[in-house]
Subunit: 212 residues, 4 copies
């Protein structure tokens, strides 16, 4: 990708504007449609109905536009699960089920957004800045998940897997399934994935009737 390493920086929230968001939306749509490698500023700004010069002026560099788009996606995801982890009206198992359902909801796990996630993740090794954006939230997700599992383990009998192990296997499985949703959507519907994961939990918590 033709990205100059210079000039990367975060814009302050007060700099957000309508055009700013239009460009981010357009970026995500373009990546989803054409792939990260074939996403050009020209296409993005055309889709956002903004001049190409403005896109660069606003984000200083392509790298920065990409980073901002990833950040947006990452925040959106975080907001979706944060609410669930904090939802005191639900018991731990109820929350896990909500998390699963959220992770395979059409808002989060639709092919376009997965395509974007996967694109960024595939570049993570070469552009550590991508990792920086997601890492922290990933860790929060994991630790909250572990806490939740711990609560369940304290109540429900289960002998072999530690909370960390359950959390890890779950998280890996979600990533693996997302990939499959991308390239084999027929066989990997949201329903299939959710059912599979619930079965997996059912196997761990054999007495819990809600993991159908």
């Amino acid at each position: 990708m033709n990205v100059s390493p210079k000039k990367i920086g975060n814009l302050r929230p007060e700099e957000f504007s309508i055009n700013h968001q239009k460009l981010i939306d357009a970026t995500i749509e373009t990546i989803a449609k054409r792939g990260l490698a074939d996403t050009t500023i020209a296409q993005v700004s055309k889709k956002a109905m903004v001049s190409q010069g403005y896109a660069n002026f606003r984000f200083k560099s392509k790298e920065n536009l990409l980073l901002s788009s990833l950040k947006f996606l990452s925040d959106e995801y975080k907001n979706s699960w944060q609410k669930i982890f904090e939802d005191s009206r639900l018991d731990p198992v109820g929350r896990v089920i909500k998390i699963i359902e959220n992770d395979f909801s059409s808002k989060i796990a639709n092919r376009n957004k997965i395509a974007v996630w996967v694109s960024f993740y595939s570049e993570v090794k070469f552009r550590p800045s991508y990792l920086t954006i997601c890492q922290k939230q990933d860790e929060i997700y994991s630790s909250q998940m572990e806490k939740l599992i711990t609560e369940i383990n304290n109540i429900t009998n289960q002998n072999f897997l530690s909370p960390k192990e359950i959390s890890e296997t779950y998280h890996s499985m979600v990533d693996g399934l997302w990939q499959r949703i991308l390239f084999d959507p027929k066989n990997y519907s949201h329903e299939f994935c959710k059912a599979l994961i619930k079965k997996y939990f059912k196997n761990i918590y054999t007495d819990e009737k809600r993991f159908v």
Copy 2:
């Protein structure tokens, strides 16, 4: 393979040309080092120590070089698990354990190769030709895995997960863990991954002592 260049003429060039393989190796190394997007024919041919013109002449196009490299990786992987599935000296559980160990061996799951896999997979939605190469072997892997699990289920008592479900969850988990090996190698060592997966199987086949 030391084949004198004289004899190459009479053999199928795709299989026996030294430069052919040098270019594929260099492609994989370059993708692993810089990412798919930043892999150029100039870099690859430099690393392979052949002229840029030759690389193009040999593979007709960059796309084709990439495809050939993916094919090589795919074949290498297939050879590694094919042998295990067919190994009649081992009982089913022994074979599953071998499969797990192979999937996280340093030959298969090293960061360079994973980087290449992930790069290609991330583009699958936009370049269906990538998928064509892996899909068939993926299906064979899955069906063989299912067969293996079926054999185990027939012997060992287990109530909740069907062979297909076990195979699917395993496969997704492997993909998810490979991604993690890529961007968090410290926390996701081969040993950690293998142990995690074995625990997962232990949870399914509680009586089987080999899933430590």
Copy 3:
């Protein structure tokens, strides 16, 4: 045409961009100087004093730049004869003479422009798009010529050649002579060609004194 760049934005860019015309002029000059096969975008844009990237951006492709240049030449030629065919102040013979003089004027039949014409025509079999550009105008020229000859034939006695035949022979002769101007300019001066053609007409219309 001195148009301030500010105002260009509101007009159709193909017609009013200064650089657009500079590139077309440079293309024609380059073809005339080096031949179609050796005309590169690098040379053209250097001669036009714009960047190579811009030339491509402006015309989308080399093919298109070539096509546009041919169109320009074709239009220029058409404008020159259109006026004559429509000139009501002249009688038919007067117009034919003007047409001949125009076809071998230094503006139309100079070696540079002929070189370009011949280059394009030689490729017509392989690039039908070249033909598309000239064909229509060629037909109009021919039909107007025939009409003119018809008018003359109606007045002046002449027994053997139909208007179509006169038009065809004339047109072929012009093409043949243009080729000769290109590679033997010493023996095929404009004066020589004009005189030759007029003699040819004199032979047809023996009583018409203006075909010297």
Copy 4:
């Protein structure tokens, strides 16, 4: 065209061989099929069923292969009209008619050969060596034609056009018509062209009944 200016030279006739002629034939076919600009040594030698290295070894350079092909065509043409000019069994008018018929015979004026002629002629301004090959024979053709016309003029009454003028107009017309055969073969059949030219002669020699 990528032709190094060095190493142009004529091969001596004793160097001719079967492969030599195969390459020349293949060159002409390739130019006729794809155009001069798109004719590559690789294609030519493939069509000639000879190795690419050999083509270069035999002709020293692409330029020289092209030149040799032009020479071959030029000689073939010369042989065809030489015989006619020297045919003492025919009277002058009979010879002119034969010349016309030869110039639009399917052996000489077929679209493939015309395509090659036109390709070379279009480059004549930039590669004087092309001209060198044809020029001499062109002059012989012209002078023989003039001589022939002189003989006719001595017998047949005709007032306006000198032998040179008739020869020139004829020759230009042939070139013009050849071009038309190339890009409008439907309207410019061999029969049409021959009839047109004969009409033209009929107009000059009104008493000669053989110019139908």
